[in-house]
């Protein structure tokens, strides 16, 4: 259960968003500039709300009234960025292992094998990020976030920087992730088709405000993004 009720002023732009979702995949849907990334950054703890609360499974992560702000490294919330952000000086194996080491988790070869199989990245383990394609990079970023054992996974337009063919390549992995990984996800994107395939609950955002919440029926019928 993810509860968000925050406001944040970013220059001229104001975010006032409130929603609660129990879905396996909560879709944050809206045009670019609607505040999706800022909202996700607040959930991750990278951006501090001016006012409000963020809680996950009843645990308060932000509560401005009580001056509570759990820093991002203690939230156990995974974040897959649009630009992957793999560590360029570490090979894929050590990128994947980074979260486990930082969280002091025991080595779990079975879990690692499960994730590398799920994402089809086992043959990339010895490569550096510089030698990966965009799609491969994004899959490694997904694996890296999963292997840190997060209780929530934030996916901020993970397909945004990929061309159509690459998107088609990654989408099935995201569906598998949803059905097999057992980690609730927040999925940010502005493509209704992608949203339909993945999200179980949808939060519609417009200029920093939640305009609708529900199932796939709240999505616009048009295929092209608004």
């Amino acid at each position: 259960m993810l509860r968000v009720d925050v406001s944040k002023q970013l220059g001229e732009f104001a975010i006032e968003a409130s929603f609660a979702s129990e879905g396996r995949v909560t879709g944050l849907f809206g045009a670019s500039g609607s505040g999706k990334t800022s909202l996700v950054s607040m959930i991750a703890g990278l951006l501090r709300p001016d006012r409000g609360t963020i809680a996950i499974d009843g645990e308060i992560l932000d509560d401005t009234a009580a001056n509570v702000h759990v820093p991002s490294h203690r939230r156990r919330i995974g974040y897959v960025f649009q630009d992957a952000r793999l560590f360029p000086h570490l090979d894929v194996r050590r990128n994947l292992d980074y979260g486990r080491r930082m969280n002091g988790l025991a080595d779990d070869p079975a879990q690692r094998a499960r994730v590398t199989d799920l994402l089809d990245i086992a043959r990339l383990l010895d490569r550096r990020p510089g030698r990966l394609s965009g799609g491969e990079r994004q899959r490694v970023a997904l694996g890296r976030a999963l292997l840190a054992r997060p209780r929530l996974l934030l996916l901020d337009e993970p397909l945004g920087s990929l061309d159509e063919a690459r998107k088609e390549e990654i989408l099935p992995y995201l569906v598998r992730l949803r059905d097999e990984a057992g980690v609730p996800m927040v999925y940010v994107c502005h493509d209704p088709g992608e949203m339909r395939q993945l999200a179980t609950h949808i939060v519609m955002l417009k200029r920093g405000h939640v305009t609708a919440f529900g199932g796939a029926e709240v999505l616009p019928a048009a295929v092209s993004p608004a």
């Binding site: 703890g45 990278l46 939230r75 995974g78 952000r85 360029p88 000086h89 550096r128 890296r144 976030a145």
Partner: protein, 231 residues
């Protein structure tokens, strides 16, 4: 021509020791200052910034005299250090190292700061979401990625420390075997009748050291780059 006398060897060894110690002590301090200036906003930041660059723009003799006033035997800090910790800088090689460290600090910090600023903050944020506390983000992401700049700063600082003259001679004088570095030795030799050949030898030695430092830095930078972006 290339019979380097024992006194000259002493000056060369002393220069290398002074510059190495100055660089090794200044490096962790320099990394910390570079990180603070690159990544943190705090009250008085511009003052700290200016203070660090001051030795670059002040006449070296002024810096040397200020060091003498502060760290001399009767200086504010120098007297305390001598009485309580038994550390004496005045007219010792340690004083030469201190003068070289202070003089080379701006050159050492600058490349470090630039390279830390160039590290993508997005990578640091990603490391944070993966559970790394800020100090571990620094050690596992920022520092390794800034390594070429850190090494460049060390080499520049070392080269400056080897060549330092004005502040050193003002602060700790020109005592053979204790504070007479290559530069000070060349200065003395030039003023000695028939010292020309010896002075020239020392000049050649300092050119060789400078070139070795440059080659070493090039090699380190290339290796570090290959390690970071190599595939």
């Amino acid at each position: 021509m290339f019979d380097i006398s024992p006194t000259e060897w002493t000056a060369i060894a002393l220069s290398l020791r002074v510059a190495s110690v100055a660089t090794l002590v200044a490096t962790p301090l320099g990394i910390a200052v570079a990180w603070l200036l690159a990544r943190r906003d705090f009250w008085g930041k511009s003052v700290v910034d200016a203070l660090i660059y001051l030795p670059l723009v002040l006449p070296p003799v002024v810096t040397g005299y200020l060091l003498l006033l502060t760290f001399g035997r009767r200086g504010l800090v120098g007297a305390w250090l001598a009485d309580h910790l038994g550390i004496v800088f005045a007219f010792r090689w340690t004083g030469a190292a201190l003068a070289c460290g202070v003089m080379s600090f701006p050159l050492l910090v600058r490349p470090m700061r630039l390279s830390i600023e160039a590290v993508d903050r997005g990578l640091e944020q990603a490391a944070g979401t993966l559970g790394a506390a800020p100090w571990r983000v620094f050690l596992t992401i920022t520092l390794p990625l800034a390594l070429p700049g850190v090494l460049a700063g060390m080499v520049l600082g070392f080269a400056k420390a080897i060549g330092e003259f004005g502040a050193t001679i003002t602060f700790v004088s020109n005592i053979p075997g204790e504070t007479q570095t290559i530069s000070a030795a060349i200065y003395s030799l030039i003023q000695t009748p028939d010292g020309d050949a010896a002075a020239l030898r020392m000049v050649v030695v300092s050119i060789l050291i400078a070139m070795a430092a440059l080659v070493a830095s090039e090699w380190f930078a290339r290796r570090a780059n290959a390690r970071l972006h190599g595939n």
